[in-house]
């Protein structure tokens, strides 16, 4: 097992190196290059020369890349042009919000998706089955930002049931420890703060969780259908095992393997894909910061955030592979 993990970790290195090259190239390819990007188009040639000298941009590309890499390894991505703060600080400050949102979205997607997919397969051909198939296709066809707007309009504005923006009511004077607001509320026993943070997570989590929900329903349904037709299930049934035992021991367990892959993949995607949802809900996570950075052409933030998010994404996928390895011994052998 350890060798498997080490091997997978080693495989990460070329991917991360490649990513850093791509991002380095991206910054170099921006109109006017990094000096112009940093100094703006009014920059005089002297100012650009000064900047280039200051940041070593007059040296050979490979030297520059290595320097960039050196800083990236130390998580130094420069300063945000918009806020004047270190990019990494901003990222670390905002990531907990995005993680919280992702967790809630996945709880929603899994909590609804697996039972629904299972039921649909059990009642194969019924109206529930057809509805879940069509619903899951529809879930993927709705533009996320539109769904988010719709949810906010209905549940936050018209009905007023849930808060529609932010991470916590500004009037709650909550203590911050970890920047995971729900966790902070629990740790400090500020129950109202924790509950308020939970309420703020509901609508964005539903908006963000809809696509994974749709996919999980489909995969669960498909894999349960696959498994039901497998020989060992038929055998178990023929042996006269109780239906519930067959379900528990054979169907659910085996069907969950592909589902777990999907869950992992989707989690990685959500962590990085919350740009639209977070911006609609003005949710103070990584996604909304990226959204702002796009408009402010804040290249340092774009570059740093995209690289760090890609790393997160790759790492989550690695975790998924590892847990997959734990679940299914065959994977380890390969």
């Amino acid at each position: 097992m350890l060798r498997f993990i080490v091997r997978r970790l080693l495989q990460l290195i070329p991917i991360l190196l490649g990513l850093s090259i791509l991002l380095f190239a991206w910054l170099r390819a921006l109109p006017g290059g990094p000096a112009q990007a940093a100094l703006g188009e009014r920059a005089t040639p002297e100012a650009i020369a000064r900047y280039n000298e200051l940041f070593g941009l007059d040296e050979p590309l490979i030297v520059q890349y290595l320097r960039f890499l050196g800083r990236a390894v130390r998580l130094d991505f420069g300063t945000s042009a918009r806020t004047g703060r270190p990019v990494t600080t901003e990222f670390l400050e905002r990531m907990p919000g995005t993680i919280e949102l992702t967790i809630f979205a996945m709880i929603f997607a899994i909590g609804v998706g697996i039972p629904l997919g299972y039921l649909a397969a059990r009642k194969h051909g019924s109206w529930l089955d057809s509805a879940s198939v069509i619903g899951s296709l529809l879930g993927v066809a709705i533009p996320v930002f539109f769904l988010a707007y719709l949810l906010r309009l209905v549940f936050a504005v018209e009905l007023g049931w849930l808060p529609g923006s932010g991470r916590q009511d500004v009037r709650i004077d909550a203590t911050r420890i970890t920047n995971f607001y729900v966790l902070d509320g629990l740790l400090t026993r500020e129950w109202d703060a924790a509950w308020d943070a939970v309420l703020h997570l509901i609508l964005p989590a539903i908006a963000l969780g809809t696509i994974p929900l749709a996919i999980i329903v489909r995969i669960t349904r498909a894999s349960v259908l696959d498994v039901v037709n497998e020989d060992y299930v038929r055998t178990a049934n023929a042996k006269g095992l109780a239906t519930s035992t067959v379900r528990r021991r054979h169907i659910i367990r085996n069907a969950l393997l592909p589902v777990s892959t999907t869950i992992g993949l989707q989690t990685g995607l959500l962590l990085s894909g919350a740009v639209l949802t977070e911006s609609v809900f003005s949710f103070g996570g990584v996604g909304s910061a990226l959204y702002d950075a796009i408009f402010a052409r804040d290249f340092a933030v774009l570059q740093g955030f995209i690289l760090m998010l890609a790393v997160v994404y790759v790492l989550v996928n690695l975790l998924v592979d590892i847990s997959y390895g734990l679940l299914d011994p065959r994977v380890r052998v390969r």
């Binding site: 940093a38 188009e41 004047g84 529609g164 923006s165 991470r167 500004v170 103070g284 408009f295 052409r297």
Partner: protein, 566 residues
């Protein structure tokens, strides 16, 4: 030019709105008075459109910075509540010497900064000397924009001399400021938030002048980010940057009428729709940059839409000069083509259909309330046929114009840039032009591109900082504003306009000055370097229970007069 606009925008944007907090939400802090009516205390949450850049107003040039700093700081002069005139604030009154070069300010007594430091003539001079002695990146136009706009250069920049000569504390409560030349901007400009008087102790303790980073990504000092200290009715409490929340609390030792609210929280919500919905949902108590489309809906829900008097101008800039390398369209150097553009624009429909009620068509580059507005300038009525004829005469039919417009922004004079762009585009197409659109994010791309003269025509505007003609037309068309480095109008050359503006600015007699500005307006409208379009009244909105917020044409609202009712 860019920065000018940014700041203008800023100042204009600097609408402070008061927000009220619904009493129930902060029951623990509320004084618990029963019954209806006005109440002291409470928290008001105000939806800002963006984060402040930082909170040291001397380095401020944007509305969101001033929205907050205006509550914490005061200047020698302030703005009349709800008006555009400069009135005494930390200075009780002042005298001007015969030659117009020496200003003697008599200061308010018994005023203390929030950190307990005494406010006195020395503190005033400390601030003036601080500005004059900015070094390094603090001299960057993106940092000390306003100081440079009013005073010119710094102690260490002999090439760009400053009109500031000295400040002397002749006694505890008298500060004498000497200038090197007469300017019509003084002393009204001292009401700008950038000239707020800050605590010398805190400025020194937290190294306020340390500005680092690069030209366009400035990093400000600990003072500007965490310890701004002024004399105002509110004190800085905290700034949660991850969530975009700035909290200020009442200064109980305020020298004047204390604020009624306990606390004001400025919460950044960049999307206009979200701001409206949050107000409707009750999670904020007010916000700025109300879309004209929402006035009615908001009022139906009981909110109060507070419309400011229009104190701005929207214009269609034309690149009529010839900046080498900008690729400017030479056709625009022909006055007939510029006139054809002016005649093509249907201002009436624009004002009626796109701008809020109370908007007016503009005949020149300043609103009628500013001294120097002339009622007899050349006007250019909507007449597409005339446009076509002028174009044919100039041999420019079918001319392609690169039309730039900003995205993701709403300005007081331009609530919906995309709609404005599309209507004017259609007007120009109807008159026989070909439009090639370019959309850029407002800051910095759009402002930079426009200033670099990359657009043939573009949308831009300005909100006045104070009641002064030069603040409008001087900002746009003075010689210093039109050179290779600032080519919004293609660095056009019109010596008679430049001369008229320079003479008017240094004329000490107000009546003469007004006439001179009227003449300048006539010259400008004959030359037509840009097309004035409209003056539009921007609005802010507060919930039903918010009282006492006075909308300011300068978008310089103060929250100290605001209270909440049940």
């Amino acid at each position: 030019m860019t920065r000018r606009h940014t700041r203008a925008v800023a100042a204009s944007a600097a609408a402070l709105v008061a927000v009220t907090l619904s009493a129930c939400a902060s029951s623990d802090r509320d004084s618990g008075e029963g019954g209806g009516g006005e109440q002291t205390g409470g928290t008001l949450v105000f939806g800002a459109a963006g984060d402040p850049a930082m909170l040291d107003p001397a380095f401020g040039s944007d509305g969101e910075t001033f929205r907050v700093s205006r509550q914490i700081f005061e200047g020698l002069l302030g703005n009349e509540l709800g008006g555009t005139e400069a009135v005494p604030e930390l200075a009780e009154d002042w005298e001007v010497s015969e030659d117009g070069l020496e200003y003697t300010f008599n200061l308010q007594q018994d005023v203390k900064f929030h950190d307990g430091t005494d406010f006195n003539a020395e503190a005033v001079c400390f601030n003036f000397d601080r500005w004059h002695n900015f070094e390094g990146l603090a001299q960057s136009p993106s940092a000390s924009y306003y100081y440079q706009a009013v005073f010119g250069g710094f102690a260490s920049t002999p090439d760009t001399p400053s009109i500031y000569e000295s400040c002397e504390a002749t006694d505890e409560n008298t500060a004498v400021i000497r200038l090197t030349q007469v300017t019509s901007k003084f002393p009204a400009a001292l009401a700008l938030p950038a000239f707020s008087i800050q605590s010398p102790t805190a400025l020194q303790e937290y190294n306020a002048d340390e500005v680092s980073g690069s030209e366009d990504a400035l990093t400000y000092s600990e003072y500007a980010l965490e310890h701004p200290v002024g004399t105002g009715p509110f004190k800085f409490e905290s700034w949660d940057r991850g969530n975009g929340e700035v909290t200020i609390v009442r200064n109980d030792d305020y020298w004047g009428e204390p604020a009624k609210l306990d606390e004001v929280i400025f919460r950044t919500i960049s999307d206009g729709n979200t701001r409206r919905q949050e107000l409707e949902a009750g999670s904020i108590d007010g916000y700025d940059f109300v879309s004209p489309a929402d006035y009615e809906t908001l009022e139906e829900t009981g909110a109060q839409v507070l419309v400011r008097d229009p104190f701005n101008i929207l214009y269609l800039g034309m690149n009529g000069g010839n900046v080498p390398g900008s690729g400017a369209n030479p056709a625009l150097q022909d006055p007939r083509v510029r006139q054809a553009i002016a005649h093509a624009i249907d201002r009436e429909t624009i004002v009626n259909s796109l701008l809020p009620e109370g908007a007016e068509q503009a005949t020149q580059f300043m609103p009628p309330t500013v001294d120097g507005w002339a009622d007899d300038v050349t006007t250019y009525e909507y007449d597409p046929e005339r446009s076509k004829a002028l174009l044919a005469e100039a041999g420019a039919t079918g001319t392609t114009l690169r039309f730039f417009y900003p995205t993701d922004v709403s300005r007081p004079y331009l609530p919906d840039p995309a709609a404005m762009f599309q209507v004017i585009s259609q007007n120009l197409t109807d008159a026989g032009f070909t439009i090639q659109p370019t959309a850029l994010p407002w800051n910095p791309d759009y402002l930079n591109a426009v200033q670099a003269g990359q657009a043939d025509i573009h949308l831009l505007g300005w909100t006045g900082d104070y009641n002064d003609a030069y603040n409008f037309i001087g900002t746009f068309f003075a010689e210093a504003s039109n050179n290779q480095a600032s080519a919004e109008f293609g660095a056009f050359s019109a010596p008679e306009i430049f001369a008229a503006l320079a003479e008017a600015d240094s004329e000490p007699d107000p009546a003469n000055r007004t006439e001179m500005y009227q003449e300048a307006n006539r010259l400008i409208m004959d030359y037509l370097p840009a097309v004035p379009i409209s003056h539009s009244p921007p609005a802010l909105v507060v919930a039903e229970n918010v009282q006492g917020l006075e909308p300011s044409p300068l978008t310089a609202e103060v929250f100290s007069t605001v209270s909440l009712s049940d």
